[in-house]
Subunit: 152 residues, 2 copies
C-alpha cells in the first residue's frame, strides 16, 4: 500500500477565493481541512479546520488569550466578519509548513509519521514531473489512512 | 451564542477500551477525533485523529523521522498491529493538554481561541457541579463552530 493507492479526489479551493467562501466549503462538505490551490491548480496549502478558525481570532487575543473573555457575546457571534472581504491566502497561518506532501511511493509508515509530526488531518500526494512541476494525485485524510490500516 | 448552546452529543469511548476498537469507532463514524471518558463517564481526553495516528508510529521513528523510509511496505501496512492488545489510555499523547474544555458560558470567541491554540478539532463543554465533579454537556467540533458562525 503506497501513497498513490491511498490518494483520493478532494475538493480544492483557490487561494485567491474569499476566506468566507472557504469556510463555507469546509462546512458544507464537513471536511477535516481545506486543500488550497494556486491559480495554476497546483497545491498550495492544506489547512486543518482549527487553523482556519485561528484566522478568525484577532491577533491581540492570540497573543493574550485571556482577552477573549472581555469580548461580549454579540461581538463574538460575528467572528466570521473578521475575514469578510479578505482573501483566503491572506488568512493562512504563518510559521508552519503550509502543505504536508508525500511522494506517490511513500508507505503507510511514512504517511503516518508525517501526519503525526505535522498534526495535519490531510496530506497531498504529489508526483514530481520531469519539468519539476508537481502533479496532484489526490489527498489522504487521517480517517482514510486509519480505515485502510485497520483490518490489516 | 454560548458553549452550552453549541454543545452537541458525541460518541464517547472508554479509556480502558482497546486502542484498535478506538480506531474502529473513529473510522466508522468518520469523526475528527475521539472523546475518551473514564470509568465514571467523565471526560478524560479529546484525541484528534492525527494524534491517534501518532500512537501507531514507533518511538524511534518519531525521534528520527528519516527511519520511516527503511520500513518496508509490508511492515508499514500492518502499522495498526503496533497497538493490538494495548489499551487506548496507554496510547494517548503525552506532554499535551489532553482535554481542551470550555465552561458552558464561554463565547464563540473563547471557543475559537481555545481551538486555535490547542489545534484541537473538538472541545468538551463541562459544567462544574457543586461537588466539584464536572458534567459533560456535549462537544463542539471545529466544523460545527464554523457552521454556526458563518451566517452571522
Amino acid at each position: 500500500m503506497r501513497a498513490r493507492d491511498l490518494a483520493q479526489a478532494y475538493i480544492t479551493i483557490d487561494k485567491e477565493a474569499e476566506a468566507l467562501e472557504a469556510v463555507g466549503v469546509l462546512v458544507e462538505h464537513d471536511l477535516p481541512g481545506l486543500l488550497v490551490v494556486d491559480s495554476a491548480g497546483q497545491p498550495y496549502a492544506a489547512v486543518p479546520a482549527c487553523d482556519l478558525i485561528r484566522a478568525l481570532v484577532p491577533g491581540y487575543i492570540r497573543e493574550d488569550p485571556v482577552l477573549a473573555e472581555v469580548i461580549d457575546e454579540q461581538h463574538a457571534d460575528h467572528l466570521c466578519q473578521a475575514v469578510a472581504g479578505r482573501k483566503l491566502v491572506d488568512c493562512l497561518p504563518v510559521g508552519r509548513p503550509l502543505l504536508p506532501t508525500a511522494a506517490p511511493d511513500c508507505t503507510a509508515m511514512e504517511l503516518a509519521e508525517l501526519m503525526a509530526r505535522t498534526r495535519s488531518p490531510l496530506i497531498a500526494v504529489i508526483e514530481q514531473g520531469a519539468t519539476g512541476q508537481g502533479r496532484l494525485l489526490g489527498v489522504i485524510t487521517a480517517a482514510h489512512l486509519l480505515r485502510q490500516l485497520l483490518h490489516r
